[in-house]
């Protein structure tokens, strides 16, 4: 949740920055990606996912996580959206 106080204490933060940061949070949910990485590992350990499929999915998710980290780093200097 965005704290309105942020706008009061950081008047230089534009509403567009805030909306952008919220959109980044929505689009790149790092926790959800981490959960998917752990689930992929679990399904592999249970023998429900082949090693090839596990490796493919893992690479895919790690790339998503990198993209999410980068996107968050780009906006983190501008505004912080409280979860």
């Amino acid at each position: 949740m965005f704290l309105v106080d942020d706008l009061l204490v950081k008047p230089f933060v534009s509403i567009l920055d805030v909306i952008h940061a919220m959109a980044i949070d929505e689009m790149y949910d790092r926790e959800a990606i981490m959960d998917d990485i752990k689930e992929n590992q679990l399904l592999y350990e249970l023998g429900e996912r082949s090693e090839a499929e596990y490796e493919r999915r893992k690479a895919e998710l790690e790339a998503e996580l990198d993209a999410a980290e980068e996107a968050h780093e780009r906006v983190s200097g501008k505004v912080e959206v409280m979860g």
């Binding site: 981490m34 959960d35 752990k38 689930e39 679990l42 350990e45 249970l46």
Partner: protein, 210 residues
């Protein structure tokens, strides 16, 4: 090989050397002392080791070797990736954090960590809350502490780490076996460990300390 040190965890002062291959293949695994503490380390070239499956496994395996070393040692594990530029910087971190390390060593003295997951079939219709209450209650009786559930998948009914006295591992294993007998038809029971007590110590070392 540079003089960077990859650090696995901290034990009561003792000189230990292991043949195990460490993170990034580093050998030997040895100890660096500061007063009454010893850090378990290996040499490493980089300051930012990549968290590959192989490296994560090497980190866990070294900790497990120390945990089981010569009848068992108490170890306060570091999170993956703790690398220091030299023995001197590592010692200064041990000095700065000595109270926290000492407290953590006391908190987990003689303890190991065990993990239990209950996994449901895809779309299974179960009374998950009742299962958690029953299984959670049974495992609480044979453990000292437990974590909250980490239910990162819809398939997970229960996923907890347990802190157990080293001598209590067998009783805990028996309890898990009984749970497997009772729930084996509807749930997969995944039991793992012993691990260093990652989930029961909380020491953070900032990058500025390294």
């Amino acid at each position: 090989m540079s003089s960077n040190l990859y650090t696995y965890g901290v034990i009561e002062k003792e000189s230990i050397e292991l043949d195990e291959r460490g993170v990034d293949g580093g050998t030997p695994i040895r100890t660096v002392d500061y007063r009454t503490l010893s850090a378990v380390v290996s040499d490493i070239d980089t300051m930012e080791p990549e968290r590959t499956d192989e490296n994560a496994r090497a980190h866990d395996e070294v900790l497990r070797e120390v945990l089981l070393y010569d009848g068992g040692r108490t170890i306060v594990p570091m999170q993956f990736g703790m690398t220091f530029k030299s023995g001197r910087t590592l010692k200064s971190v041990l000095r700065g954090g000595r109270r926290a390390f000492r407290q953590a060593l006391n908190d987990v003295d003689g303890m190991i960590e065990l993990g239990v997951k209950l996994v449901a079939d895809e779309g299974a219709d179960l009374d998950r809350e009742a299962i958690r209450e029953d299984v959670g209650g049974r495992l609480a009786e044979v453990s000292a502490r437990e974590t909250d559930d980490d239910l990162y998948s819809d398939r997970l009914v229960l996923n907890r780490a347990y802190l157990v006295e080293r001598d209590g591992e067998e009783a805990f294993g028996d309890a898990v076996e009984a749970i497997r007998e009772d729930y084996g038809e509807t749930l997969r029971v995944q039991y793992n460990g012993p691990w260093a007590p990652y989930n029961f110590v909380d020491i953070e070392i900032g990058a500025q300390g390294r």
